[in-house]
């Protein structure tokens, strides 16, 4: 089975896989050295390099005699643009002619391609690809450039110091001689050891030709004519189709399987009992779905979530958050809140709540698999190549090296495709094993909702102490939320000292000078399937903290922007985005029948400030967001227009979380099914968005989800400015709005 993964531009397609010729230069030694700088064991890297030496491919870059430069992309592409940005960083220091660059997905070899930000796993999440790979990739590009220069120097008989580069050309200015990278590649000798590149030898920002200058994303042309290939588009010779019904509650199993009607569906091949559900194999996709619909299954009552109702759960969590006697573990601490809070001149407290929410990536989860003997081949869209091959190896009891991965473009990820168990791939693998034929397994949209792993519910209690002048001195935030990290990734949970960072990140109030802070987690485990979801804990936690900042300011009759700026003495970058967003929105100007609400976040170093302009239908409770202004400083913006696009995207995502998106659980099971009862934003819901990307010299930080958590607190505060009523529970459904107004 040799079907190629089709990924990118026409150029890439030509270059992908076996098409690269033996004349292509191999820069293995350089890549090997780079792998070691990523912190992997020398021995492991050497073994991998040796395994690869027989192939005409180098770890990161190969250059063919015709000048084509092939660069590996270690991150998966789900619309965020990493498949362009990361190779572009290599190309910058390599001084490559970008029009000659072809990008191909890197194979799952952690020692070479692993993300330094995730302990060397190949994992695309947390808006962290550019942040973590930035320096290593620049260094590697510079090393390859140096090797090309040294080879050119030898050929021309001139000192290397007299040579410079222009895009894809080494130039000897004195004699006017020029050698193209492709020409050099034809005779280049690769040194045993990669040349050393010191940080000060990397380009200055002013010399960048690619970083900071927008290019067309490499895969974009394939996304306007239907040629882009996603997991669901795979066609493997001899393949049949599979559908799966998973248990409504994790840990439950099929008890009785009524499959007579299923087996009567024309085209159905068989029914497969799985440890956690029931699969249907069929000749066609539609027969698989029809057979799936016809199953009649009763489930064992094993599994923890049976009996859990999210509304009652929320009440219980809220009571735990506000009860000082609840067992809590400290997440973050500064100064001494317990000693200082009682000394405060005035104290305020408030509660906030956030519901379960669903990723709703447009491509329902699916995978294609083929299992033969002790080996497997999988076609899927995953956020982690590492987890995909490991999970499949584990499920089949074979080493991960026996799992051949064809990773495809993702029809949306948003955190859903980065769980350690990659369960949707396992569905395909188990069916393929049973069928002894390749199987394309697809979930229906309803499956995707019912099997959803959701943003957790959380209840927040916050107390603040102020001095006599109204200055914020002490801050105490207690979160009772459904656990995420131990469920989605037990391995990382252990590695990170049993910290539920997916739930708790964003509880900090970075950017604000508040001397005494205590953040606590009250651990809750409903048994409901949970997940990181775009914005992770920031979305819920910043809804609480930024809404509360606004409440404090209003209570003390201080302008909410001025109140924040007064706390930002140590954070000039924070101040700048706050001031810029206020200018953009003309913050001081009163609007007729509308009001503005503000929010600021330091999201893993990226500085974002946003303002919503809102009106409200007091009879229906409907909120309308008319405009949204956002200033973002994520340091060096590798692709500025893409940063703006990601900011627009994350605002729209935040709008859904704020206004309409709500998953409820009854007796352990998800109640919603499809887009009619899980409403995501449509074009008519979306405000005019005004984005400013502030370019600074700081190390690049993330851009893929930073504005999502701005939206709910900005809307809540706008509604407070308009009506005096505070919305404390996302989503702000019309019923909740009417209740708050009453």
């Amino acid at each position: 089975m040799t079907q190629q993964t089709q990924h990118l531009s026409a150029r890439t397609l030509k270059r992908h896989g076996a098409a690269i010729s033996r004349r292509d230069v191999m820069i293995g030694a350089v890549g090997l050295s780079f792998a070691i700088t990523l912190g992997q064991g020398r021995a492991a890297a050497a073994v991998l390099a040796a395994e690869r030496s027989g192939k005409a491919l180098s770890p990161w870059v190969s250059i063919s005699a015709d000048g084509t430069i092939t660069i590996m992309s270690p991150a998966t592409e789900m619309g965020q643009g990493s498949m362009t940005s990361l190779p572009l960083i290599i190309a910058e220091e390599l001084d490559a002619d970008w029009s000659k660059v072809a990008v191909v997905p890197a194979p799952p070899i952690d020692a070479i391609y692993g993300n330094p930000g995730f302990g060397g796993m190949m994992y695309t999440a947390g808006s962290n690809a550019v942040t973590s790979y930035f320096v290593p990739l620049r260094t590697f590009g510079a090393q390859v450039r140096r090797v090309l220069i040294e080879n050119a120097a030898k050929k021309l008989g001139v000192p290397a110091g007299e040579l410079t580069t222009e895009p894809s050309v080494v130039v000897h200015a004195k004699s006017g001689r020029r050698l193209g990278y492709g020409e050099i590649a034809a005779f280049a000798e690769i040194p045993e050891k990669a040349p050393e590149i010191k940080p000060e030898q990397l380009k200055k920002r002013a010399d960048f030709r690619l970083i900071g200058h927008d290019v067309i994303r490499v895969e974009l042309p394939s996304k306007i004519n239907g040629s882009a290939k996603y997991s669901i588009d795979q066609q493997v010779p001899g393949m049949i189709y599979g559908a799966v019904v998973r248990a409504p509650v994790e840990g439950s199993a099929p008890d009785k399987i009524g499959d007579a009607k299923t087996k009567a569906v024309p085209g159905v091949i068989g029914v497969v009992k799985l440890p956690y559900g029931v699969g249907v194999l069929a000749e066609t996709a539609w027969a698989a779905f029809a057979g799936r619909q016809a199953l009649d299954i009763t489930w064992t009552r094993e599994g923890q979530a049976w009996g859990f109702d999210s509304d009652k759960g929320m009440e219980r969590f809220a009571a735990a958050a506000r009860d000082p006697k609840s067992a809590a573990t400290a997440w973050g601490k500064a100064g001494d809140v317990k000693a200082e809070m009682p000394k405060a001149a005035s104290v305020m407290e408030a509660e906030y709540r956030c519901d379960y929410a669903y990723h709703a990536q447009m491509e329902p989860l699916n995978a294609t698999a083929s299992v033969t003997g002790d080996a497997a081949e999988i076609w899927c869209g995953t956020q982690s190549q590492t987890m995909a091959v490991e999970a499949v190896g584990k499920a089949l009891g074979i080493p991960r090296e026996k799992v051949k991965l064809h990773d495809t473009l993702l029809g949306g990820g948003f955190g859903r495709r980065g769980h350690r168990d990659e369960e949707f791939i396992i569905d395909a693998v188990l069916l393929a094993k049973e069928a002894k034929r390749p199987v394309k397994m697809m979930w229906t949209r309803e499956d995707d909702v019912h099997n959803g792993r959701h943003r957790p519910i959380s209840a927040h209690y916050i107390k603040a102490g102020l001095d006599g002048s109204g200055k914020l001195l002490a801050w105490h935030h207690r979160v009772a939320g459904d656990r995420v990290t131990p469920y989605m990734d037990p391995v990382r949970y252990e590695e990170r000292g049993k910290k539920d960072f997916i739930l708790m990140l964003g509880t900090d109030i970075k950017g604000y000078d508040v001397p005494h802070q205590l953040i606590e987690q009250i651990y809750e485990d409903s048994g409901v399937r949970t997940s990181p979801l775009r914005g992770i804990g920031f979305t819920a936690n910043k809804f609480a903290t930024e809404s509360f900042m606004d409440e404090i300011a209003r209570k003390h009759e201080v302008d909410p922007v001025k109140f924040r700026l007064a706390l930002m003495g140590s954070s000039p970058r924070a101040k700048r985005v706050v001031e810029r967003a206020a200018e953009m929105a003309d913050w001081g100007r009163k609007r007729d029948g509308r009001a503005l609400g503000f929010a600021y976040i330091d999201y893993s170093g990226s500085q974002v400030a946003g303002i919503a302009e809102v009106s409200l239908d007091r009879s229906s409770g409907d909120i309308k967001v008319h405009d949204f202004w956002c200033a973002i400083d994520c340091g060096i913006a590798v692709q500025p227009d893409n940063v703006a696009a990601q900011t627009e995207s994350s605002i729209v995502y935040g709008l859904g979380m704020a206004l309409t998106e709500r998953i409820t659980i009854r007796d352990g099971a998800v109640e919603q099914s499809n887009f009619y009862d899980y409403r995501v934003p449509r074009m008519s819901d979306v405000p005019l968005m005004h984005i400013e990307v502030i370019q600074t010299d700081n190390h690049p930080t993330g851009a893929g989800q930073m504005a999502t958590p701005l939206v709910a607190p900005a809307i809540s505060s706008a509604v407070a400015a308009l009506t005096g009523a505070r919305l404390r529970h996302t989503p702000f459904t019309p019923e909740r709005v009417l209740k708050a107004l009453a």
Binding site: E219, I224, M362, G411, S649, V652, Y653, S684, V686
Partner: protein, 151 residues
Amino acid sequence: MAIEFTVNGKAASSDAPPATPLLWVIREELKLTGTKYGCGTGLCGACMVHIDGKRAFSCQTQVSEVAGKAITTIEGLSETSSHPLQKAWLAEQVPQCGYCQSGQIMSAADLLKQNPKPTRAQIVEHMSANICRCGTYQRIVRAVERAAQEA
């Protein structure tokens, strides 16, 4: 008995049971995978095609309903990605994950056919049939406006 129709100007036929949604015939029989499955209920528009020149949810159309009809999919909108909308989509850097974009472009093409110079409000109304979870809506509006201007 095979159901006969045309797809992108070429004769096509299907032996699928008559109630099979056109979507699955296009994708898995005819291997034109640019048309996407999103919800199966006519709520998201990822499956949008043109039937006899008008937009239609292929997931809500039984294959028996298209006997003798002309279907256009994203692959048939132009030979070389040269439709004004496709050019505008690139110029405005619209797609992110891209999964919904075939359906978006097919919806927009239907709009411009009926109404070559739509107002912003008309664009929003028409295009609200399609969901983009990446939230590229603002760029879609710009791209439709650009295509209308440049066409």
